[in-house]
Amino acid sequence: MNLKQLADYPGYGSELILHEEVGEERAAREDLLEKMLLRLQEMRSSIARGLSSDEPSRTGMVGWNAKTLWGADDKLRAPLMKRVQAYAMAVNEENARMGRIVAAPTAGSAGTVPGALIGVGDHLELTDEALVMPLVLAAGIGQVISQRMFIAGSSGGCQAEIGSSAAMAAAAVCELLGGEAKAAVEAATLALMNTIGLVCDPVGGYVEVPCVSRNAFFAVHAVSAAQLALAGLESVIPPDEVVSATASIGRLLPPELRETGEGGIAATPTGRRIALKMAK
């Protein structure tokens, strides 16, 4: 399946994904939905641990961001944004502490989908059950994208990881708010297109800086994409062409910008100093 075929489906995109994955047999469908609910609950427990912990990561670079933001004044009076950002960072700080998380699609980008989907769900006071089918769609979008491009930062740069997670999250939020397959695929496409070119340059090679804050930014990015698509806005470049463009940029990136910790902000004087200190 490609993204165009998914977009052409008349109805919710998650229905087509579920059909492709397990067919129409009831027991198999229920089994898969139960597994998705379990993953959702795992995501929720990573969020809960992350929001309440300020234990530093192994390097000491992160560990308190989610809790600090969660407890801070909401000066913008934008509770949805604050929630989405805090949830996303909570997951990635758990990840940086070697806590338990759900990869979505990777561990470094694991905060984006729960940040956006559970963040919006909680903001609107929806039940976890309402989030399950959107999560199925997120998984399906990730699967379709991964057939056409690398999703590892070491292969395609950060655009491959956070771009995929933002696309998955955008589609999920779009469906959660009533968007059918066409709108959800547009949301995913807008999210991916606006992530193109992002490099993977983690300081010292640790999945901490910029990874933790990046998940906060791209969880909000995903919600933005869903908002545009729900209003009927569309990408001029078709979805599958955007995926191909992302893949081709990934191939053009030099190794320094693909998760080696040798380029970008990792190669700044401070980045190098931190790396040296950690190597000792």
Binding site: I101, F150, S154
Partner: protein, 227 residues
């Protein structure tokens, strides 16, 4: 692409690494006492930052990627007197996240090379200098055998007779008439009876059954093709 449920911080450098080592662990019949791990590319460059050494050690200890003991794997290994050495080398034109795992105990030795492709997906492409291809998504039957006519057909027939459905099969030999290895991914585990039967065939030198290390929950749970 939602999943695996795992200990952080990296699906490729932690979960994938753990799975590769877990497969390596099962190429021996008894636990390893010594291990040498040679890391290539991004694995070599960022191993410390991603907990790759902990994850590889955890895999050799038999832990799965969601095991909360992973952060303590190195100290547990020390307690169990498992001697582990890490090294870095250029393994050639392979995926950036590639590792070569050499294990040893008093009676056995094994050599495995594989790559972590992202999202926790893996591929093993070398065992004991034989070319293989498998993903850890299914039970994998490894057969080292004499290269002669009809071996593949016979093994496939035995598997079929026992209602095993082959997902993938890869076979390569070192030289004509020499030794060869087959890696066969099968939907469900073969019974001990069938394994014993295969083991005693005259042309079979060695047989191993490696477990499914990627929880069999279909493509949506982080087991898709990401290469």
């Amino acid at each position: 692409m939602i999943g695996p449920i795992m200990i952080g911080p990296s699906s490729s450098h932690t979960a994938g690494a753990c799975r590769l080592a877990l497969l390596a662990r099962h190429t021996l019949q008894r636990p390893a006492e010594r291990a040498k791990l040679t890391l290539h590319g991004s694995f070599a460059k960022t191993a410390k930052g991603h907990g790759t050494e902990l994850a590889l050690t955890a895999g050799i200890l038999g832990y799965y990627p969601h095991d909360p003991r992973i952060p303590q794997a190195l100290s547990i290994a020390k307690k169990q007197q498992l001697d582990i050495v890490f090294d870095a080398a250029d393994l050639g034109d392979v995926h950036p996240n590639t590792v070569c795992i050499e294990l040893e105990n008093r009676t056995e030795k094994s050599h495995l090379t594989g790559s972590s492709l992202g999202g926790g997906s893996i591929q093993v492409f070398e065992i004991d200098a034989f070319e293989v291809r498998f993903s850890g998504r299914y039970h994998t039957l490894l057969l080292r055998h004499v290269d002669q006519t009809g071996v593949i057909a016979h093994v496939a027939q035995v598997i079929a007779d026992n209602e095993g459905n082959i997902a993938t099969l890869y076979s390569a030999r070192q030289k004509k008439g020499g030794e060869a290895m087959m890696s066969i991914e099968i939907d469900k585990r073969l019974s001990q009876y069938v394994l014993d039967y295969l083991t005693h065939l005259p042309y079979i030198r060695w047989l191993r059954i490696l477990p499914e290390v990627i929880s069999g929950e279909g493509h949506l749970s982080g087991t898709g093709d990401v290469a």
